[in-house]
Symmetry: C2
Subunit: 757 residues, 2 copies
Amino acid sequence: MTLRAYHLTLNDVANDNPEYLETVFSLANGHFGVRANDPISSNPITGTLINGFYEVAPIIYGEAAVGYAKQRQTILNLPDLRHLNVMTVSGHPFTTSHRTSADLDLRTGVLTEQYQASSQQGETIGIAVESVMGQNLNNYWGVTYTFTAGNYAGPLVVSKSIAVPAAAEAIASADPRKTRMAGMPICKTDFPSPNVQRYHIQTKQSKLSVTMYLAMTAPAQGTLLRYRMDLSDDSAHTLSYQVYVGNVDDHNTIDPLVPTLDNSMQTLKLDSQHFWQQIWAQSEIMVDGHKELDLAIHYNLFQLNQGAGRDGRTAIPAKGLSGSGYEGHYFWDTEMYMLPYFTYTNPAMARQLLLYRYQTLPQAKQRARDMGVEHGALYAWRTINGQEASPFFPAGTAQYHIDADIAYAVGKYYETTKDLDFIEQCGFAIVLETAKFWADFGTWRQIGDQARFEFLTVTGPDEYTALVNNNYYTNRLAKHNFELVVQLAHRIMDDDPNLLASYGVTTADLAHFTQLAAHVYLPYSEDQQINEQDDSFLSKPRWPSDRLTPEHFPLLLHYHPLTIYRYQVAKQADTLLAEYLFPRDISAVQLKREHKYYEGVTTHDSSLSRSIFSILAARMGESEKAYRYFMDTARMDLVNLQKNTADGLHLANLGGSWLALVSGFSGFYLADGVAHVANHLPAELNQLTYRLRVGDSILEIVLNAQETQVTLIEGPTIRVDVNGSLQTLTAKVHTKVQVKVTPTADREAKPVSGDKI
Amino acid sequence: MTLRAYHLTLNDVANDNPEYLETVFSLANGHFGVRANDPISSNPITGTLINGFYEVAPIIYGEAAVGYAKQRQTILNLPDLRHLNVMTVSGHPFTTSHRTSADLDLRTGVLTEQYQASSQQGETIGIAVESVMGQNLNNYWGVTYTFTAGNYAGPLVVSKSIAVPAAAEAIASADPRKTRMAGMPICKTDFPSPNVQRYHIQTKQSKLSVTMYLAMTAPAQGTLLRYRMDLSDDSAHTLSYQVYVGNVDDHNTIDPLVPTLDNSMQTLKLDSQHFWQQIWAQSEIMVDGHKELDLAIHYNLFQLNQGAGRDGRTAIPAKGLSGSGYEGHYFWDTEMYMLPYFTYTNPAMARQLLLYRYQTLPQAKQRARDMGVEHGALYAWRTINGQEASPFFPAGTAQYHIDADIAYAVGKYYETTKDLDFIEQCGFAIVLETAKFWADFGTWRQIGDQARFEFLTVTGPDEYTALVNNNYYTNRLAKHNFELVVQLAHRIMDDDPNLLASYGVTTADLAHFTQLAAHVYLPYSEDQQINEQDDSFLSKPRWPSDRLTPEHFPLLLHYHPLTIYRYQVAKQADTLLAEYLFPRDISAVQLKREHKYYEGVTTHDSSLSRSIFSILAARMGESEKAYRYFMDTARMDLVNLQKNTADGLHLANLGGSWLALVSGFSGFYLADGVAHVANHLPAELNQLTYRLRVGDSILEIVLNAQETQVTLIEGPTIRVDVNGSLQTLTAKVHTKVQVKVTPTADREAKPVSGDKI
């Protein structure tokens, strides 16, 4: 095995903009995140984010209407935990500093940085910062600062505390992807001991609170959390601190018990290392022959794991815990772009993420009522607490497809894990209520002797097209939602008929769902011989050719929505996303037509787009095109492709890059209990190796130009289809299949950027 | 001639809610309006509105996007001019009062009211209030208070001043039709003489100002504007005041010249009477056999004239100057519902209203650029200053039809007046720039061998259906806009070829417009054999039958827009509005089918709906149905049909009621220089008499069950088509045509309210 790329350093990233680096080197553990703020220079974007810790405020509309989302929910930007006050003995504070190196070890979770700090008087010192998140101990973060003499080598006074923030102005921006400031919480602080600061934060409107503790491991000298050292003598030039971030509490109580604060850095480092070892054992993925890419995919999975809530009460914010863009909201991309990685490598985590949706089912039921639908549940398009927080319904609530997306994810989870317990307790309720929603929301239409079940005035994943009829993706997923509820109902009936009855589901209901599934209308263009994005998409004009130069992108920042809506232009994969999810729906030749067609009208202004184009290109055997799309997606944040990584990482895209490797280059999908693998490895990569699990069977897949090898590492017998050859694997036996030579025709294809639109 | 109904009294109106009465008895003169506030009791809604005097504030969006309207424009609620402070000699203020009578004389414009006022100590007096607006002297309003003894008969201290208002909270409401408060202006007051208060109001953001003067005609005693009388002696118990409201100034200067303030009440009353005499001479309309209706139509025309800006810089706010609902904005209904009355009775006023649109053409050009359309102009959906102020684009900017509506009104104005001077100086620019907009905005589509010019992602007049393709009304009006620009261009070319060239219009342009007009797509349902509201309207399900009871209406106050949009339900006449405008487009039998069809899916939640249904029913010979729709529309505010007259009158509906009589019951329309009249008088009315003018020809039309009589009162020869018989009228010669008996079949029709939806 070659040396793997597990260290992210300053050389590996796009630029040295401080806010960009804060995001890229941020640490998190699903519960809270610490942005890699410079410890000396003050910074406008504060540093700490706690998953599910948000403030609410009324959404103000220029013109309000009935049923609009009422409250904004905004994750709180909490004080920077890394900040340090350092002074010379003469009282000269060090006020600026510069990061000279950084190394994030993706196998241990330890971030090591080196700064050079200066006072206004020109005195300099070096500060090394080593920090690590507790992972199983995920209330903890630890940091060690090591001071070295620069042109100043005398005594230093170091103090540290969590600062009560000054009131911040709300940031209003026409860019919906930006960070927003919530109303300031009430912060109270005290010092239970000279070495310990307690910090209680309470939100005014959402009535949530968190208690944090900052502890210094060295004894404080004189005043609180203050330490004096002398760079010219032999005293310790190292200071360690530990922060405990309590769980989000909705009772506003301060737990009188001070938590354990004597975990040493060593303890936290071991905890972190142990955690990451397990993650990599479950989900190792390695790319030979392309170190940059190998690093990128490790980084992506590292950050995806960091950002995902693990407690069943939180999910994955759109920016993880690396930034407060999109206000810390959970969207549909949790289920469609990120969950597959967990489902196939860490089902316990996938279960927790689905549990969050189950916990918010009551809010979703209420939302369906608010939208005039009498049965079932409608999940919020963007939310933290389960209530709709999208203030722009044409690209918010109208994206009803989120219901079917969540149901799809439940189905995939069950298909992979056979975790009937979860289905019976939680999953079935989700699938049932979403199916009931579609049944009520849809409408029958008779065309000649054809009865169609249609879904009108919806917005699909492509937000550049809004309020249309029969969005293919939405309809296809709703159809699946109907099929899935029937399938799971039968499974429950086999297990416990009384349980099914307790859900109030009758066989007549199941027959009804089956009938609806059979009649859901799926638009198809006879003219183009492709599935049609919606009833009118293909009849709109193409986006004007004189508006295709880079300064026009992303379109949403340059054109009024009405301007964008009236053209045949897509922000991202829409119909193609459905083709990716249901690989057996269409023929290879139709897929090729669709890919080409939609490629011509897609701007990829959404970070969710390229991974899907890559996967399908790979499936079509166009490995080089797949590779080009993939390289954009795999390194999106490391190259700052969307130019807004400072607001946080594109979490869904991190998941999308895993999908592109696994579902794309290795053609993986599960159907009828058979794990399908097909070798679509592009010539640029020597070898791809990865692990995943199907039920209790852990597989290792190795692909290279010569062969495709699938090994059952542990667990029960499993059937696999490798490059079209069906085989049964038993433990420790692998199957090797000679790879078919990829046709070279598509290698001549034009660059991706050239055939956009 | 029978006694006509020209007095509106308390007995003639829906209820005695003070805010309702303030609206109904409001006085105005196009420049400013004075709500009929109780002079003693204080009132939450302030009393004075100045046309075009508005404040701006940023529109706050839950989620903003590029090109959104940036500033709210809100007409200012200015201090009540009618308020009076009255005290007993012992210092007991009169704090409550009750209106015991009111009489608004529609022939003189004088409002006479009687109040009984009480102090907290139980002392009572009577106060008669006589008030009148200057009309030609339209900077003035005058009032006389006459005091009589009640159970108190001693000395009274009366003082009056324009109060500097306390800061008011902005009213946020989910009902977009409600009054909103703008930011408070800066008010400064001083007293140039003991009898005169000067009051300068300056807005903070829009940088507009107005200077008002309040003058007492009796000499002040002691302090400013203060007067003492004794109800027990022979002293004058009458006090008169006059208010001068200056013009809106954008320089924030206070004119040092005090205006004439010695107009007596008598002068103002004569001015007003003279004005109304002229109005009634031009536009008399009389309904025999139905006094209630006769009064209603007089009231409607009275208020329509009061609310219309006359200076070419202002237009007609949606609520006139009777209330601040809809923020004092001008909408499309000025052109489509109100302008016809002026065009046919008072062309000089119509010209002023169109001049306002010409003045705001630069803003409209800019708006087209903002919306990504490179040529032409797009008028703001709602505005005072010409800039778009609609914060909800699906039912705002997407109603592009406003462009064609304005062009249509210019065309009608020219057709009626032959005022080529206006066309050459102003009107053609409007028609040209709107035609250019459509040419750029529309899109070609080839269906087989048929090339269509389509308009996508638009909202028609029916705001219960949004962002659809090929709204029939929009397309039909755009087609007319193309035809009109060509027609007017030829007219100008005949007059002055150089002028046309100066507009940059070539014969190639005209050929292009002609080609576009010929190819504008007009959706038609083969299935229903009717013109189709838009590409998908007829394929949507009907509104659920269990949501048709009264508590569900208006739908916009009970359902989320998305819920409403996905059903086949219309707020108002949409396709039918086009049929009304273009009476030669379709056959009588198709009109009948369409009327029936759209009646079944229309809620009439808009006040603009019933008048059009009435007109078309009349045209169809269904006079009884026409009558029922008309009665709702004619007395809408007098019966408080929409339950929101307190926020202001429904100005467009006032115009609509005139249309219903003239275009409906008398079937009037002008085509190719011929004035068409057809007798559709319902059995409930004995006789309808009205005047209008076509060019310089003033016609009087009399319809009753026996005959239809058209008389040329003055002016040149004109061709008329009376009940299908074409005749040429010369001065003072009338034509009488025997009326055809109306078929009685439709008299059996169900009540209108029963066949809604």
